[in-house]
Amino acid sequence: MRIALEHLTKKFGHVVGVEDVSLDIRDGEFVAFLGPSGCGKTTTLLMVAGIYRPTAGIIRFGDRVMNQVAPKDRNIGMVFQSYALYPHMTVFGNIAYPLKLKKVPKQEQIARVQAVADKMGIGDLLDRRPGQLSGGQQQRVALGRALVKQPDVLLFDEPLSNLDARLRLVMRAEIKHLQKELGITSIYVTHDQVEAMTMADRIAVIQNGRLQAFDTPDDLYDRPKTLFIAGFVGNPPMNFVDVEIEQANGAYYAVSPALRVEVPPDRGAAAAAHGGRVVMGIRPEDITIDPTGAVRGRVFVVEPLGRDDLLDVELDAHTRLHVLADPKLKVGAGDPVLLKLDTQKVQFFDAATERSLLWQ
């Protein structure tokens, strides 16, 4: 089922929840709505579900305008953050509820619920109540309930944020696998960019109710179109330094009081064409501690992440860089270090408009 949002806007009184969001979701596609909490992504999802009525704009499923269609007539399945299982019904009752409302014959209900439950690995829990299940099992019940009516669209509202880290990994893989297998168009709301990056075909980044970008995970990571996206996508986040571009001997240099590094000519040229001060972005994994490095700094804080150490390196009073370093180097707070910047993937943004100077 193709879903189209056209100039979708939602206001609560005078508060704008979502403003002018337009998206086109292809049939069978898995799309993530990514953004900080309160950015309007759940509001958008609830409009797609039919719980909220848009203040303006159109929602289409296929060619049909859905604005005035009741949720029950949209044939959607939805999984909530709190699972929203009906506590007074058994697992069977929960999963069968959509079928019961559709007046599916009892025998068929039993067969379909059993099939879905087996698929979800909860076939032997059918007569339990939600209160007796673990978080992961509840999540599977919620998923089963969304799937049992064979929906055209699946909606997920931060479904994994109540699970512990290990279980989240497992469920992430399962949901992705299931979605690909069934080929149901899905929208997945999350504030966790790792979830969005790993699961989605395309990610819609939303900030303050506005759509910032709608792209594949790779494009968002390597070709961020705005400063916000560059900073939001990627963990640990990208470093930003205010620089000026200097051109000497056919080479381009990014220069600030704290550093001076050579940048690739194509990127440097694009930035230089803008002229004046620009914002340079460089990811922590592109910076290494190297005796041959040209940038001098002092370690401010060390945060051991296990595989790497995340260093907060102070270059001068105004500039700090996040650096991923090998724990074997045993760098401590206060140590002077030399940094080498790999500028192959460096990004440049207009300081005023916060738009990328490289990608449009």
């Binding site: 100039h7 719980i51 909220y52 009525r53 203040t55 704009g57 159109i58 305008v65 604005n67 005035q68």
Partner: protein, 355 residues
């Protein structure tokens, strides 16, 4: 609707399809609202029938001279009763129905030589019962029962609910027996044993008993509110004060009482209103006696004037004037009460907009 139209235009939906969407939208809004009103209707009808109409009616009755001698329930007829002819049947009306007398009842009420006494009685009664029992005693009981074994607390609170569920006639009978003259009275039996002379409690201390009888019932309301408020205080808070080495009294003074501010306000306002208007037990205990209007309160007067069939001539009009005073006090206090409860926080918008 203008909003909806712009939706359609924004999206570039024109012609037939746009019109269809608009029409469907209107129908759906209407249906959603009808559903809401459907849910509200039963409560709404009852509230209108037994709250709003009576409120208006009592204002109307208070400006008529309706009494047993000219009784009618036909309001329309009362409204035009200055005519001699019944317009509907074109017959001469032989009996004189009640008619509007303007503010005569209120004038009469203000001139009533006992009105000031009754008013003062009411204030005295409300203040004493509220201060000593409905709030004071209730607070003491709930503090005590929450500081002992939980099951024992439940037991004591259950006992305190007894007066509320005992039939008023029996409850009053019980108190009458406690204060009765020898040889029947319980207090006087103790007096006899202690070698003291008999006391006629009913004659000597009617107010003490009016207040006690009402107070022992009233205490349970505050008790339950305060108890549930105390029980809902986070255990961490109490533990923290324990760790700080506070004594029981310090904990009550500095942790519990400050947190009971809102429940206290609630009990005070709510109980003031209900004491102001309750007369059931005074009616049964003293009937306003033993002396002339000695323990008569305002609401009892209204009831006696208008509804008590014991006095052969019920004066609905005059009684209503007394009731109107209470209705006005009630509405004013209820509005204050609403303000006190931070109404705006309670009307958060619903988070579902479909039917």
């Amino acid at each position: 609707m203008a909003n909806q139209r712009s939706v359609v235009q924004d999206a570039g939906l024109a012609g037939e399809q746009g019109t269809a969407v608009l029409a469907r939208s209107r129908r759906r809004t209407l249906r959603a609202q009808l559903t809401a009103y459907g849910f509200l209707a039963p409560a709404g009808i009852l509230v209108i029938l037994f709250f709003f109409i009576p409120m208006l009616l009592i204002l109307f009755l208070s400006i008529t001279n309706l009494s047993t001698t000219n009784f009618t329930t036909d309001i329309v007829r009362m409204l035009r009763s200055d005519l001699d002819i019944d317009l509907v049947s074109f017959r001469f009306v032989t009996d004189q129905p009640a008619y509007i007398v303007g503010f005569d009842n209120f004038e009469r009420m203000f001139r009533d030589e006992f009105a000031p006494k009754i008013l003062f009685n009411t204030l005295f009664y409300v203040f004493c019962t509220l201060a000593f029992f409905n709030v004071g005693l209730a607070l003491v009981i709930s503090l005590l029962t929450t500081h002992i074994d939980r099951r024992a607390g439940f037991f004591f609170r259950a006992l305190w609910i007894l007066p509320r569920i005992t039939s008023p006639a029996v409850y009053v009978l019980m108190w009458r027996r406690i204060i009765a003259a020898a040889p029947f009275g319980i207090l006087n039996q103790f007096n006899e044993l202690a070698g003291r002379s008999e006391v006629n409690y009913y004659q000597d201390h009617p107010w003490v008993f009016v207040i006690l009888v009402n107070g022992f019932i009233g205490a349970s309301f505050g008790m339950i509110i305060f108890t549930s408020a105390i029980e809902s205080i986070p255990k961490d808070l109490l533990n923290a004060s324990l760790v700080d080495g506070s004594s029981v009294f310090q904990r009550i003074r500095y942790v519990i009482l400050p947190l009971l501010r809102w429940p206290l306000l609630f009990v005070v306002t709510y109980q003031t209103l209900s004491l102001l208007t309750s007369f059931e037990y005074i009616l049964l205990l003293t009937g306003g006696g033993p002396g002339l209007y000695q323990t008569e309160v305002w609401s009892l007067t209204a009831y006696n004037r208008a509804l008590n069939t014991y006095f052969a001539n019920a004066q609905w009009g005059y009684g209503s004037a007394f009731a109107v005073v209470l209705v006005i006090i009630g509405v004013v206090m209820a509005i204050v009460y609403m303000r006190a409860f931070r109404f705006n926080e309670l009307v958060a918008e619903p988070k579902i907009e479909v039917l």
